[in-house]
């Protein structure tokens, strides 16, 4: 028979990690880039949950955001443009024992990797997917992305972006099997961390869109929201975010929202202004694909041999001196 691999692996001792245990190379992002906030929150999350660095995987595609794995001191997979999700799914299927995080940008996820994004939500594998959404291509130097607002002037849209921006939240919430959708902003680190923490503890695919500043190419993009706390609507609930007193004092625009309410989540997702921040949807009942497929089984060679011989039997022509109904031992 097969066994769950993870059942065989005993944790022999308690480990305690410090932030440095998760800090890899020195980030080469620009000063003021929102990616730095995401990285800091991730490292804190790893430390607070004492994740074993060798059992933790950061998978990314291509773009500024996708540099993140290089700055962690865990295993990392900085793959190809748009394909972070299928790579991460393969990893999770082979190794359900690993903590898998995916870092992807608005170009990586919502443009070149859009097909994989839709299907990743449907597979609902247990991983945290962070969409670093700065509304622009940064690494290739300022081209419009699918989430660029209409009218945005960029190198490929010098007279302004022609199309309405795609809304990653409404798209994600429209996909069957969605199990966790949240939105954070890089400039409220406390909430960013709390959302990552909720995402990590949710079993299933946790999709977190982080609105993120690009000081190089869109330095003023989020200024109105930074200057006026009323333009940020915090979603709170006993099953969702709980705000600290200090934060509640600054961000008075709050809305009680039950993360199990999908219809309300969809309605909130479609609001651009104020920006909704918090957990829009969480359903712990959605099955994970790796569980449905019984990933992580451990096989013995006898087990494989028995299965193979049984298949051979189906197609075997036995020599005349052997009884066909009784295959040779």
């Amino acid at each position: 028979m097969t066994l769950e691999t993870t059942h065989c692996l005993l944790r022999m001792y308690e480990e305690h990690h410090a932030l440095e245990d998760y800090q890899g190379g020195v980030p080469r992002w620009c000063n003021g880039c929102g990616d730095n906030a995401i990285l800091a929150a991730m490292q804190r999350l790893c430390r607070d949950n004492d994740l074993r660095p060798e059992k933790t995987m950061f998978v990314s595609g291509i773009g500024c955001s996708s540099r993140l794995p290089h700055y962690m001191k865990t295993y990392g997979f900085h793959g190809i443009h748009g394909r972070a999700l299928p790579v991460a799914e393969g990893i999770k299927m082979a190794r359900p024992d690993l903590n898998v995080f995916v870092n992807t940008g608005d170009g990586d996820c919502c443009s070149i990797g859009a097909a994989h994004w839709i299907h990743a939500i449907r597979y609902n594998m247990n991983m945290v997917v962070v969409l670093h959404d700065n509304h622009v291509y940064g690494l290739t130097k300022k081209q419009a992305s699918p989430t660029s607002p209409r009218g945005l002037k960029s190198n490929t849209t010098p007279r302004g972006a022609y199309l309405e921006a795609l809304n990653p939240l409404t798209v994600t919430l429209g996909i069957q099997n969605v199990s966790f959708v949240a939105q954070a902003v890089d400039w409220i680190p406390e909430v960013l961390y709390d959302i990552f923490s909720a995402a990590f503890h949710h079993r299933g695919l946790s999709f977190v869109r982080v609105l993120q500043r690009c000081p190089e190419f869109l330095p003023k993009m989020f200024d109105p929201w930074l200057q006026d706390p009323q333009k940020t609507m915090l979603l709170t609930h006993e099953k969702g975010l709980k705000l600290s007193a200090n934060l509640a004092k600054v961000y008075k625009n709050q809305r009680q929202h039950d993360p199990l309410d999908l219809n309300a989540a969809r309605e909130i997702a479609s609001i651009d202004d104020p920006i909704p921040v918090g957990i829009l949807y969480q359903n712990p009942e959605v099955p994970c694909y790796e569980d449905l497929r019984h990933a992580g089984q451990f096989r013995t060679s006898d087990y494989v041999k028995a299965g193979l011989e049984k298949e051979f039997d189906k197609y075997t022509v036995w020599p005349s001196d052997q009884d066909e109904s009784k295959p040779a031992a």
Binding site: K55, F77, A94, T316
Partner: protein
């Protein structure tokens, strides 16, 4: 109607279908039978079952599927022929052979398709469903009568057979079930074992209920008795039952069993003809041995998923055909760059673009070797028989994990659907790889600690303490850090390339078929082996000094090839991919585009290798190859 049929046949001075007394059984060394029908009438099942019975008797067998491109082409259309060619012999059979000796046709239009394709031997026996002669639609009746006359005039021995009429005695819808009646006729005509035939019905309809098995057995018996009573000829093909157990499967099942036997645990795929049946079979059985088939959202995702799973410690296979292979190139390049083991099975079909989905071609050799942008060294191997399909996958996985490389297995549509018996493999523990090593690495271990001679580096698996690094598709150094130094980029390229040389040093030169030297050496690869060797065998029997060599390893190629080639006056490749013809007005020695292997061999050996190729979407025939070689010898 049967009386009219008989009268008509006697009128056209054909052999009387009414058997007079005891028939004389003609002993054959081998024969080629085709069964063609409209799609969905079961001719394929009939052919496959016939082959199984003959194989069980100990005959050599090879089957070729005759497949229309559409799922439901219009009924009674020349292009809609669907069915099977079955070549049966006393000795082992390695290919589909030349023209057919006997064709069973469910209507005259699909038969015309085969006649026009030149698939019938002169004087070929035709067993033709006769009901169309009295069809209510006068156009159909006229077409039938005209075709019949035309075929008789052309010298074919046409027997009109009231198949549906006979079947109607047993079933209400003879369109379903006629195929088993025909199988009964053929079993009788070729003196096959009646008990084995009955048993085959049970196997063929095993998943259905007893009533269906009973009906089909009755149809089989009816066909048998009808042929025995009404046809005045009978053949036998002496068989020698094997002393060892044999497997009778097609190439795709063989590949799938190879996946099981290789110990791989995950297959990531996207549906594509003609590769999908590998995954169908795996989907059915893989989970029983703890594996799984992941049907991804597209070919790109299937390959990326496979790369992820392989990286994480479970060597993974992805199965596809040409168009899917093109899409996978991106993730294949990533696996090459990051040195992740990966097995890619490409069941080739006609290309470029959508090409000929159901037809075989060997058009993907160069894209397999050189594909993906930049220098992306990969291993490319090609199975040349059904048996080879099985072992190739095991070999591919071993190489993939030993060298941390992508190994491409190039099968094709001809192998995919061809059936051939081969000795049942004896399970070996060595087929399976040991579980991945998750032990702690020494502090400071480098994930790309390339060996200067072989280019090999130990593979790190997530979960190994002290092995943490970020793998990257960017050019990288030994620490997997992005290479900003131009020398480091070159160092990576060198070591990835050296691995091919390291593998190449372990390869033995291929064995020759025929003498060690002579006038002409024929080189082939993949599914054409049977046809080439049969052609060479025929020429050698005529006293010609021809030998052949079949390459299993296309990248890297074994050492010693040049030396072997130099022992022959002329060298030619026989391939199923495009090559320019020097007879075309604009084509000359300078601009001629050679077949893929010929091009590779010319570049590698500086020997003036000629090539001959055919891309008609059907297996190359040994008779045609023999003619080509004869002409080459005379040039």
């Amino acid at each position: 109607m049967s009386t009219t049929t008989l009268e008509r046949e006697s009128k056209t001075a054909k052999p009387s279908p009414r058997a007079q007394g005891a028939k004389k059984t003609v002993e054959l060394k081998e024969t080629i039978i085709e069964i063609v029908s409209d799609s969905g009438e079961g001719a394929q099942r009939c052919g496959q079952s016939l082959a199984q019975i003959a194989a069980k008797m100990g005959n050599g067998v090879w089957t070729v599927e005759i497949i229309p491109a559409e799922i439901q082409p219009p009924a009674r259309s020349v292009a809609g022929a669907s069915g099977n060619r079955v070549r049966i012999g006393s000795e082992a059979i390695t290919n589909g052979g030349d023209e057919a000796d006997l064709v069973v046709a469910f209507n005259e239009q699909v038969l015309l398709g085969r006649v026009r394709a030149g698939e019938l031997k002169p004087g070929c026996i035709i067993l033709l469903e006769s009901m169309w002669r009295n069809d209510r639609n006068p156009a159909i009746a006229a077409s039938y009568a005209a075709t019949y006359d035309e075929l008789v005039k052309a010298g074919y021995k046409v027997y009109e057979i009231p198949m549906e009429q006979e079947c109607r005695k047993l079933v209400s819808d003879p369109r379903r079930g006629k195929n088993m009646f025909v199988m009964g006729m053929l079993c009788s005509l070729y003196s096959l074992d009646r008990d084995l035939a009955r048993e085959q019905i049970g196997i063929t309809f095993g998943k259905k209920d007893q009533k269906i098995i009973k009906t089909n057995t009755d149809l089989l018996e009816a066909g048998w008795d009808w042929a025995a009573a009404n046809l005045d000829f009978q053949f036998s093909i002496p068989a020698k039952r094997a002393t060892e157990p044999q497997l009778v499967i097609n190439g795709n099942t063989s590949l799938a069993l190879g996946v099981l036997a290789s110990g791989m645990e995950i297959c990531a795929m996207y549906p594509i003809t003609p590769a999908t049946s590998v995954s169908h079979y795996l989907s059915d059985v893989f989970e029983r041995v703890g594996g799984l088939v992941h049907q991804a959202e597209d070919e790109i995702a299937a390959c990326a998923f496979a790369v992820g799973a392989s990286y994480a410690g479970k060597c993974t296979v992805t199965v596809t055909s040409g168009p899917g292979y093109s899409l996978k190139q991106e993730a294949i390049g990533l696996a090459v760059m990051c040195e992740i083991p990966l097995v890619v099975i490409n069941v080739q079909r006609g290309g470029p673009s959508t090409g000929q989905p159901t037809k075989g071609e060997q058009g993907d050799l160069l894209t397999s070797i050189y594909g993906s942008h930049g220098d992306a060294p990969k291993v490319v191997i090609a199975p040349s028989s059904i048996e080879d399909c099985f072992y190739s996958v095991i070999t591919a996985r071993k190489i993939a994990e030993t060298f941390n490389m992508v190994v491409v297995v190039l099968s094709d549509a001809n192998l995919a659907t061809g059936q051939q018996p081969f000795p049942r493999p004896q399970f070996s523990e060595d087929w399976l790889a040991p579980p991945y090593d998750q032990s702690e690495l020494p502090t400071g271990a480098k994930p790309y600690d390339w060996d200067a001679t072989t280019g090999l580096a130990r593979r790190f698996i997530p979960g190994q303490p002290h092995g943490m690094h970020t793998l990257t598709g960017l050019a990288h150094d030994r620490d997997s850090h992005v290479a900003y130094d131009p020398l480091i980029n070159e160092e990576g390229l060198r070591h990835r390339s050296l691995k091919l040389a390291a593998l190449q040093k372990t390869l033995l030169p291929p064995k020759l078929y025929g003498d060690e030297k002579g006038d002409l050496l024929v080189i082939g690869w993949g599914s054409t082996k049977g046809a080439i060797e049969e052609a060479v065998g025929r020429l050698r029997a005529e006293g010609l000094k021809v030998s052949s060599m079949h390459l299993q390893f296309l990248q890297p190629m074994a050492s010693g090839l040049k030396e072997i080639m130099q022992r022959f006056k002329k060298v030619i490749t026989i391939e199923s991919n495009w090559s320019d013809d020097l007879k075309d007005q604009l084509i000359d020695e300078e601009n001629r585009r050679y077949s893929a292997l010929a091009m590779m061999l010319r570049a590698r050996t500086l020997i003036d290798v000629d090539c001959w190729s055919e891309v008609r979407g059907r297996p190359i025939k040994p008779g045609i190859v023999a003619d080509v070689l004869r002409a080459k010898l005379q040039k």
